[in-house]
Every structure is written in C-alpha cells, then in structure tokens.
C-alpha cells in the first residue's frame, strides 16, 4: 500500500469509527443506555439533560 492510501485508510477509521465511539460515549453518559445519568452533588442531572 502507498503511504497516501494508508493515511486515508487511517483517516476513515479514525473519523468514522471515532465518531461512533464519541456517539456511544454521549449515549452512555446521557443515561440513555440504562442506569442513571451523571448527577451533581445536589442530585441534579448535570450532563447534559435528564433523559
């Protein structure tokens, strides 16, 4: 493989799979995947909304 092809292969993986990883991170932190969303000391949902 040429260096350019390798660079674009890595770019595809980083951007698309990285995007998926980031989306899953948000999905879990929002509480959408089950369990409790993140709360502050007073017990209010702190990130970003109570879902």
């Amino acid at each position: 493989m040429t260096g350019t092809a390798i660079a674009f292969l890595l770019l595809a993986i980083i951007v698309v799979w990285g995007g998926l990883g980031l989306a899953v991170f948000y999905y879990r932190r929002s509480g959408a995947s089950g369990g409790e969303p993140v709360r502050d000391r007073e017990g209010h949902v702190s990130f970003p909304h109570d879902t």
């Binding site: 092809a5 674009f8 770019l11 698309v16 998926l20 989306a23 999905y27 929002s30």
Partner: protein, 517 residues
C-alpha cells in the same frame, strides 16, 4: 382533545438502537458502498461522504425520529395527525416499503441459497453461467414471463415464513430479539471475514485501490451526488421505517444521541465492508494477474453472486469464506427486511384495527405471492433491477422532498420538532438543523431526482426497452401513488382523528414513568 394512546414499546433504548442499526445496515452496505467509493474518488470520496452524512443523513434521521416519537404512529397516522391530507404521504411511504419488501425477499432467498451452495462451491467453473443460467434461468430479453423458476420457491418460502414469524411475535419479542441476536452475529461473522480477507495475497493491492485518493473527483458534481445517494439509501430514511420504529419508544427517550450512534454505526460498517470487499477483490486481481482497475462486477448482485463465487473458488478455505460472506448478507438483509415489513404491518394494523398476526399474515401472503409472480420468474432479475432503480431513486427521494418541504415550509413545524428533540435528548440540535432540513437537504434531493429522472427519460436504463421501463419502472412509481390515494380514501375502522383532534403533548411523562428503567 384526544389523548395519545399507548403503543407497543421497545424494552429500552438499546433495543431500539440495535433495531435502528439493524435496519440501516443492509445489503447496500456490503455490495454498494465499496464499489461506489472506489468509482468516485477512492479515499477522496470520504470527504463528500462525511459531508453528506452530517448535512443530510443524520438531520433527516433526526426528523424521522422526531415525527414518529412526537406523533406516535405508523407513517400514515403520523402525517394525518400532522396536517390535513397528510395521510396520503404516509401511505406513499408505506407503498414504497411494500414494493421494496416484495423484491428484498427474493434477494434474501438468493443469499440463503448461495450460503448453502458455498459448502460445495456448487457454481463450478463458471459462476456467471451458474447464477444467470442454472440458478435464475434468466431469459435473454427483459419481459413479463410467468414462467416461475421452481427451485427458487423453497428458499423464498423459508424467508417469508421467517419474516412472518418475527412479525407475529411483535416489537419486543420479534423485532427487538431478532436484532439483538442477529446484529452482533453479523458483526462477528463479517469481522472474521475481513480478518481472513486481509491475509489473502494481494489484499493490500485492493486496499490501495480503494483508499488512494483522486482529489480531482472532488470538483465533479456526480461524485457529490453519489455520496448523498449512498448516505440516503443506506440509512433507511424517508420511507417510514424510522418513523414507525421511533413511535415505539417511550416518552422519555433520547432521540438525537441514539440517532448519532445509529448513523455512525452504519457508516462504520460500510468502512468495514469496504476493507473486506476490496481486500478480497485485490486477491482476485493478483491471482488473475490483472490490476484491480481491470476487474468488472464490483457492485450490486453481480458482485455478490458472480464475482464473490469466482473468488471463493480461487482461494484456500473458500467454502468457509463463502458461508461467512453469504451468511452475512442473509443477516444484514433480514434485519433490514423486518424493519421494512413493520412499516406495512403497523400501517394496516392502525388503519383497520387488525390483530398483529392477521396483519402480518396478510402482508406476508400478498408480498410473498407478488415476489413469486414478478421476481421468481425467468425475467425476475430484469424486473427486480428496474423496480429497485425507480422505487429508490425516484420514489424514496420524492417522498423525502415532499416530507422536508411540507414540514419545514408549509407547516413550519421544524421549531416545534426541534424543541421536542431537545426536550428529550442529551445532544441538542440548533438552528443549523432547521437550515439543513429546509434548504440544503431539499436542494440536494431536487438535484438528485432531477438528474436521475432526466437521465432515465432521455437515456433509459441498462438498455431495457422503453415499454418495459414505462411499465415496471415508472409504472411502479405510479402504483405507489395510486396505492397512497386508495388507502387514504378507504375508510378505516378507527375514528378519523386528525391534526385538529390529536394533541402530541397529551401523553405525559407520568403515563409511562413506571416503565422507565
């Protein structure tokens, strides 16, 4: 005002998410994306592809989610509740799903047959002759034959019975469980296939061909249209699937974050498919002593049912590779198929107050019969090819144009839908979402349908006779319109509740609070 009614539910958000991904990841991810990317600039295609994902795919996905979740119904119910006369737009989307369902079952039957054929490489020395001759008994010219190919009936029967089984079991026990089992299995099977493909001689040549960028293509408008088309057809948007699926979400459900995961998961699988398919094509080119650019049949059914059998016959451990590849096609196709079927079943259930089993049996019976009479005959491949082209590139895009224009410009509902998305979701959408849906998306879609429509009118398609394209191509679009009008006019058994009597705010959190996990 009438109170919104409680409906079947997903067991939780993750069940919905898996079903949404299962619907989006289909045959097009495996047999369309790699070839389209290669032919439209290779690595450089990633740029228009990502732009299309972020500016059209995900915004329309959010719109579908918002409509289904806020107006709680199948597509006809949602659009009837949204505006007077809207039910016909919903039935147009149902008609599109109905048509796609009829031929999708046939492709699944082929894939199931080839999974079995892979075990002893039943196609022999000439996969082309086997697929078009021995297997499909394809006529030399497109036409309307009623000469049914007998050996296609058994796999078709198995496919339709499997669809019926899932449909009868319902949202949680059928759709959700099928996706919970089949989607991870698909990922595992396909990951094994990709790893195997990467160790084949010449695999790197294939990846080189796919990922080497041709930046000159970025100034070619056809490449941008190809990117928008790929995203659009791949995400299962604008023909009722996501509206129906999101209507089964509980009131307090995160829509946008789920949409982001579904959108990026679909694209991630496309990249994985691109790596697997082109690594394999690289092996074929090397083994044949030619360049990847000299290979033919790198997209669509020919890639799957002619080119891949050739490759399987050439490689060590071919039968195992064949079972992995065709098994993946079956799983990817099946999870999409049941989502399409659900659009039709749910619409009939709601309009005529049918029991789920009765609606499922009716839909599967009618679709199964049509699939035999139109697509399991000696002219079935021509018919399938034509119907697929017109219903996707004219039917679905027209549906999306009407939906986005009506919602954004005639009804001016985008602010209300934006507020709905933001009220229930972690990821907040801003004014950018409204701008994309009201300006960018309609413009791109109008250019797409204009370009394709003009090309079909002036140049025809694949050299098929004009009368045939008029009948099976434009005719199927006309059928969808007539279907929409007829089903709108038929009085349903449920009262004619509409946008003046339905209050989307009436179902409160407390109504299903006890169900929130």
């Amino acid at each position: 005002m009438a109170k919104a009614t409680k409906r079947e539910n997903w067991s939780g958000q993750t069940g919905f998410l898996l079903a949404a991904i299962g619907s989006a990841v289909g045959l097009g991810n495996i047999w369309r994306f790699p070839g389209v990317a290669y032919e439209n600039g290779g690595g450089a295609f990633l740029i228009p592809y990502l732009v299309a994902l972020l500016t059209a795919g995900i915004p329309i996905l959010f719109l579908d989610y918002a409509l289904g979740h806020r107006y709680q119904g199948s597509a006809p119910t949602v659009f009837r509740r949204l505006f007077r006369g809207g039910e016909s737009l919903g039935w147009f989307q149902v008609a599109i799903s109905f048509v796609i369902m009829c031929y999708y079952g046939v492709i699944l039957a082929w894939a199931a047959s080839f999974t079995y054929f892979s075990i002893n490489e039943a196609w022999g020395e000439d996969p082309t002759a086997f697929f078009t001759g021995t297997y499909l008994e394809l006529a030399e010219q497109p036409g309307l034959s009623l000469d049914v190919v007998g050996h296609l009936l058994l796999p078709l029967l198995v496919v339709w019975l499997a669809v019926l089984f899932v449909m009868v079991l319902g949202v949680q026990n059928g759709l959700e469980k099928a996706n919970v089992i089949f989607l991870p299995l698909l990922v595992i099977l396909f990951a094994i296939l990709v790893v195997r493909a990467l160790f084949l001689d010449g695999a790197m040549e294939g990846l080189n061909a796919l990922f080497t960028p041709d930046f000159s293509q970025l100034t070619n408008t056809d490449v941008w249209l190809a990117a928008y088309s790929q995203i659009f057809f791949s995400l299962s948007i604008a023909f009722g699937i996501m509206i129906t699926y999101s209507s089964y979400l509980r009131r307090r459900s995160d829509l946008t974050t789920t949409g982001l995961v579904a959108g990026f998961a679909n694209s991630s699988f496309e990249i994985l498919a691109g790596i697997g398919v082109f690594a394999t094509l690289g092996f074929m080119a090397t083994a044949s002593g030619v360049g990847v650019q000299d290979l033919e049949g790198i997209t669509g059914p020919i890639l799957s049912f002619v080119t891949f059998p050739q490759i399987i016959s050439m490689m060590p451990g071919g039968p195992i590779f064949g079972v992995l590849f065709f098994g993946s096609l079956v799983l990817a196709g099946f999870t999409s198929m049941i989502s399409i079927a659900q659009v039709v079943v749910a619409a009939l259930q709601e309009k005529f107050e049918l029991a789920r089993a009765a609606a499922a049996a009716l839909v599967v019976g009618v679709c199964g019969t049509i699939s035999i009479l139109l697509f399991a005959t000696t002219t079935g491949l021509y018919t399938l090819d034509t119907v697929d082209k017109y219903i996707n590139e004219i039917g679905i895009i027209t549906s999306a144009i009407v939906m986005t224009l009506v919602v954004s410009w005639r009804l001016r509902k985008l602010p209300e839908l934006q507020a709905h998305l933001n009220r229930v979701s972690a990821f907040q959408v801003g004014a950018w979402w409204r701008v994309l849906l009201s300006v960018v998306v309609p413009v791109m879609l109008l250019v797409m349908v204009g370009t394709t429509g003009l090309s079909l009118i002036t140049d025809g398609y694949e050299g098929y006779p004009t009368w045939y394209l008029n009948l099976m191509g434009w005719g199927v679009v006309g059928f969808a319109i007539v279907f929409a009008i007829v089903f709108t006019l038929i009085p349903g058994r449920r009262g004619r509740e509409d946008h003046t009597t339905f209050d989307p705010e009436s179902l409160r959190d407390e109504d299903d609070l006890e169900e929130v996990r």
